[in-house]
Symmetry: C2
Subunit: 330 residues, 2 copies
């Protein structure tokens, strides 16, 4: 049985939404998973009651402190040792949980995961992997926000990490990895990307397909897109906003009956990032999954599923092995 | 009368599409504009005949050489002095035209524009301004591909250039300018963006609204988004691909009658970049507009309209004045 510690205080509608997500996951996953709720015991129990559940439906680990969404990450982690984020990750460090999930302050989850669980040797900084809906199988874009200034060596590391994730969690045995750039030609791009391209050409363990452009991200030709966290974060947030714009335009121009049709619901289900349940923090020794602050219960439920896949497939160990073999480091 | 030199050999379907765009523009703009077609005379005359026009409907300036879409820009400009790009820009340099438009090799147009027309003093490199459809008024994103490694000083220059464009061509008297970043807080971002933020805070001549995120680009809260050409190019190409993905998903899920409805046509008209007719190359002494290689005739027609607005409003002179006053240079 896989034990997933869930930050019940994280996100814009905590503890309500995390608790609801836990209930949905439990109903779907049954005995294969034990969900541990971390946060203010009383608030969690009230939320469980509100959703028609027994207050002791899940083990609860009390964490009286809460990190706000806009608190400075490092100061919050250091200043609030009894926060749900720190307490939840400490469970994993102490072997009492196999994975951690939070829809709380992204920076704080990242900092606490790095500090408490540590990084695999050879990994300089963790990367956030975001799954982009494409209409067919999703594409993993990393880094999508953890590292704003990246070296060529770090970009190469992301390629290796992403390829392992694609194999283990996305179940793609021969992942194609592209380097995000402004042109397909090898000589295109800024200095760092050009250097990364040269380093990646000799990579083994995945198919490096060379440069990909913004238009290729959603084309389905690659499984993993490598970029620095500045570009990745901008594109990720932009994509979410485009789906909202698209819905607004359709609502303005189309008949309400069209908007309520099953086909339209399916289009927006496909475009909904919450289908993929959060972004894994990759490169750390363990499993830590970051959800959007506005995640609905379904996203939390899906994140629990992704966490289980990551644990079952030994994702973290495989990433560690990839770097230990020296393959990921030039 | 404003004289616009149009590269008849530029783009994926030249000279057919540029010629058709010229005919549509002439029909709409009448005597306010003289379009000069630049390229292989015989091919242009044939295209004119094909579209039911007289072969002498426009003045033609013969240019026997053509720069291919994938040729190296600088080598192409130097090696083909009689290309339609070089000949067309030389007309402007010699005072025989007021503006130049091409759907050809972007890098070659940029290089030739810089070499032949020169830059305003204080401008280090030209920027490409791309208009993004937002559902309401478009937003100008620059740089969208001319400069992959930008200094903070260059980003500040883009802010000033973009503000002048917003006033002159978009007719927004008090433009709001945002700096693209991964968070709203001042301390977010990479080193260059943080430095640019500090420099822009003291700017005059436009409203600097601080950092904007990927999700804010289309929100309508800013008129100009400033970023380096790497991020701008990735987001621009990504946006175009998202619109295509939406269409594919809708076609897959919805009834054909819905797809053929006027409302749906309006949604995709709004999302169609060609509505805005190409991206101006800003910072050069003159008017040079770059269209997408796959531009339809309507985009060429709209680019001619934009070129006229740029000339009429003295855009280039105003950008020059902005830098001459020292306002744009820290």
């Amino acid at each position: 049985m896989i034990r997933v510690a869930l930050d019940a205080m994280g996100g814009d509608f905590a503890p309500d939404v995390p608790v609801q997500g836990a209930l949905e996951a439990a109903a779907q996953l049954g005995d294969s998973c034990q969900i541990i709720l971390v946060g203010r015991r009383e608030e969690i129990e009230q939320a469980l009651l509100k959703h028609g559940s027994r207050p002791d439906a899940f083990p609860i680990v009390d964490a009286p402190e809460v990190v706000g969404m806009s608190e400075k990450p490092l100061a919050a982690v250091r200043g609030k040792p009894r926060s749900s984020i720190t307490v939840g990750l400490r469970l994993q460090k102490e072997g009492k949980a196999d994975a951690f999930i939070s829809a709380g302050n992204t920076g704080a989850v990242m900092a606490a995961s790095t500090l408490l669980l540590g990084l695999h040797p050879g990994v300089d900084r963790p990367a956030i992997g975001a799954l982009f809906p494409t209409g067919a199988k999703p594409v993993l874009v990393l880094d999508s926000g953890a590292n704003v200034d990246c070296s060529a060596r770090e970009l190469c590391g992301f390629a290796h990490i992403g390829a392992v994730y694609a194999k283990d969690v996305l179940r793609r045995p021969d992942p194609a990895v592209g380097l995000l750039n402004i042109g397909e030609e090898e000589e295109k791009g800024n200095a760092v990307v050009k250097e990364a391209h040269a380093m990646l050409k000799g990579s083994t363990g995945f198919r490096f397909v060379g440069n990909v452009e913004g238009r290729d991200i959603l084309s389905g030709t690659v499984d993993v897109v490598v970029c620095d966290g500045f570009v990745g974060n901008v594109v990720l947030k932009f994509y979410e906003s485009v789906a909202r714009l698209f819905r607004r335009l359709l609502e303005r121009e189309m008949d309400p009956s069209v908007m309520e049709s099953p086909g339209m619901a399916e289009v927006f289900r496909i475009l909904d990032y919450s289908e993929y349940g959060g972004a894994p923090l990759l490169g750390i020794r363990g499993v830590s999954i970051i959800c959007h602050g506005s995640s609905p219960a379904r996203a939390i439920k899906n994140a629990i599923r992704v966490a289980m896949q990551a644990v079952e497939s030994h994702l973290s160990q495989h990433i560690g092995a990839e770097f230990a073999e020296g393959g990921a480091v030039a």
